[in-house]
């Protein structure tokens, strides 16, 4: 690829500066100080949120310039976990997990089926349906939000998770697109060989294609998790009783009843709500980076 020897790291693109000279070293230091410093500024708000969750509520804004909690306390987490509106925070987390789990299973499974159809089968009007799918990616959510609400209200689905979960079982355009790209890179010979061995359409999909696109399935699963975990507008629209609230809406409750005495608890539960997101990010970074780089998922 580039003219680098394997054992040394840096690439010498600039012929004047050679490795190990003082000028090269100085440049390297300046680079790391600038980039690392900028990264720290970017992350400062998150670090501040985390450290504030260990401060006493009365101290949060008096010592807002400082990152070090004095005294360092855990009680915000206990107070926050007691929850709000008569519900423990554990209830909100359970609700979120149910919504996210059911949505993600539906979105990934249905998208894989649809993607296989688009990628491998030649049927009439295929280009038309594919175009329809691409258009849904660009459609403003507002345009369907109101009629959907009315339809779900008429169906008697309000104050249940049905309006949030069920639409996920009909494929998600971004995921379909991602998986179609993936399936197209699998050699057709594999399908042919399976067909000769007597496999039908569905078993080719299930036994051959599905195992080979697990990276795409993982990427779709992770993004579905993220989007549903942080989703606020659908829970705001469809859920009215606090015992059904997911984490995002519970945090909104904390904010609505914001008083000087519960800042610590609100910050602590904000941190708790970010934990799964950050954890998954560090565990599955490879899939996330790949997903974004190949399809522009956000």
């Amino acid at each position: 690829m580039k003219t680098v020897t394997k054992d040394t790291g840096p690439i010498m693109t600039d012929p004047v500066i050679s490795y190990k000279t003082p000028r090269f070293k100085a440049k390297k230091w300046i680079y790391h100080i600038l980039t690392g410093g900028f990264a720290l500024i970017m992350l400062y708000p998150i670090i501040w949120l985390l450290m504030s969750s260990f401060k006493e509520s009365s101290q949060v804004f008096i010592t807002a310039h400082s990152l070090i909690p004095k005294p360092f306390i855990w009680s915000n987490y206990a107070a926050g976990w007691e929850g709000i509106a008569g519900q423990s925070f554990g209830v909100f987390i359970k609700n979120s997990l149910v919504i996210v789990g059911l949505s993600t299973i539906g979105a990934v499974a249905s998208s894989a089926l649809i993607a296989y159809g688009f990628a491998r089968i030649q049927f009439k009007w295929k280009a038309f349906w594919f175009a329809c799918m691409m258009v849904t990616m660009m459609l403003p959510h507002e345009i369907i939000m109101i009629p959907q609400y009315i339809i779900f209200a008429k169906l008697g689905w309000l104050n249940s998770i049905k309006p949030i979960v069920i639409p996920q079982y009909f494929g998600h355009a971004f995921f379909i697109f991602l998986m179609v790209q993936f399936i197209r890179n699998i050699p057709l010979e594999l399908d042919e060989a399976a067909r000769i061995d007597g496999c039908g359409r569905f078993s080719i999909f299930y036994r051959i294609i599905l195992p080979l696109i697990t990276p795409a399935l993982a990427t779709a699963g992770i993004f579905s998790f993220y989007w549903k975990w942080e989703d606020l507008i659908n829970p705001v629209l469809y859920l009215n009783s606090p015992e059904k609230y997911p984490v995002s809406l519970a945090l909104k409750l904390f904010l609505d009843s914001e008083t000087a005495s519960n800042w610590g608890a609100m910050f602590a539960m904000s941190v708790v709500s970010l934990l799964p997101v950050v954890l998954i990010f560090f565990l599955f970074q490879k899939y996330i980076v790949e997903g974004i780089s190949t399809s522009g998922l956000k």
Binding site: G9, G117, W129, M133, Y149, L237, S273, S293
Partner: protein, 299 residues
């Protein structure tokens, strides 16, 4: 032969049937309902009353808040999206080198865009820019004894939302980084041999080769920026204040539909949004031939 084709059709439609059903039930039918409602007055409880173009007339001639929300949204989109892309490009250029630390930096810069859409981050942002918040505390700590009252001033309040959008430049950065890695090093080497300086290399080689990716990001992010809801809903507690300074368009639609139950009017607003986004996308595509460079595949 004919029979084979028929079975292919059947199999194809069987596999994509979830999409077709969902597309009809959750896109086409709602859109038709929305279009109909936009010509009605409807409060969700009584039957819709046909009012012709009244909603649109009211919007364009009688509703100052509508124009305010348009102004706010356009400022948000046209400041936020380009600034975010510029940041993404600069940082991607910084990280496009072989160093063991690059992986770590990439992770750190990307982290904000992974958590950025959440309620927790919106709460955090609200408290950073608050009167007694971190930013003012830090300014005071560094000897600047003048509080910036971010949420008392409509323009400043809107800029806190724009900052939040820029802060999440990580995903665009990743896409740019992937694009930069795809540029063959021989191009840069050839330019160096010809005596081109860094700026010439950037503007004559890197930027044109990256332009399709920049274009794709510009289109998708412009569309999604028009739909921003959570930060406005949390940071200003759903009111869009002060003085409607952060009344993003989608927040105003939400208020009209679900606070005032003017479903007809809100539907009409949604259609106006669709037309605006459509026109902007069209303009972007039309101008793309002047600046987006598509390489012919022949290597």
């Amino acid at each position: 032969m004919k029979k084979r084709l028929a079975s292919e059709n059947l199999a194809g439609y069987a596999f994509i049937s979830p999409f077709i059903i969902g597309f009809m039930a959750f896109t086409i039918i709602p859109m038709a309902v929305s279009l109909y409602l936009s010509f009605t007055s409807y409060d969700l409880f009584s039957t819709p009353v046909w009012v012709g173009l009244d909603n649109f007339k009211e919007m364009f001639t009688g509703d100052e808040k509508f124009w305010q929300s348009l102004k706010v949204t356009f400022t948000y989109v046209f400041a936020g999206v380009p600034l975010r892309l510029i940041f993404a490009l600069i940082v991607a250029m910084l990280l496009n080198k072989a160093s063991r630390a690059v992986g770590l930096y990439r992770t750190l810069f990307y982290l904000p865009s992974i958590i950025g859409g959440s309620v927790a981050v919106a709460i955090m942002w609200r408290n950073i820019f608050g009167n007694e918040g971190t930013l003012n505390a830090l300014l005071f700590f560094f000897g600047i004894d003048k509080k910036i009252l971010w949420y008392q001033d409509p323009t400043k309040a809107l800029w806190t939302l724009i900052f939040l959008a820029i802060w999440q430049f990580g995903s665009s950065m990743l896409i740019f980084l992937a694009g930069l890695k795809n540029i063959p090093p021989s191009y840069h080497e050839a330019a160096n041999v010809d005596g081109a300086n860094r700026f010439q290399v950037f503007f004559k080689i890197t930027l044109p080769l990256l332009s399709p990716i920049i274009f794709f990001n510009l289109v998708m992010q412009t569309i999604s920026a028009f739909m921003t809801f959570t930060p406005a809903y949390i940071i200003t507690k759903g009111e869009g204040g002060p003085l409607d300074g952060t009344l993003l368009y989608s927040l105003y639609i939400f208020q009209k539909a679900f606070n005032f139950f003017q479903m007809g009017y809100a539907s009409a607003m949604a259609w106006v949004l669709l037309v605006i986004v459509g026109i902007l996308t069209l303009i972007l595509f039309k101008t793309s031939k002047f600046w987006v460079h598509y390489e012919s595949k022949e290597d």
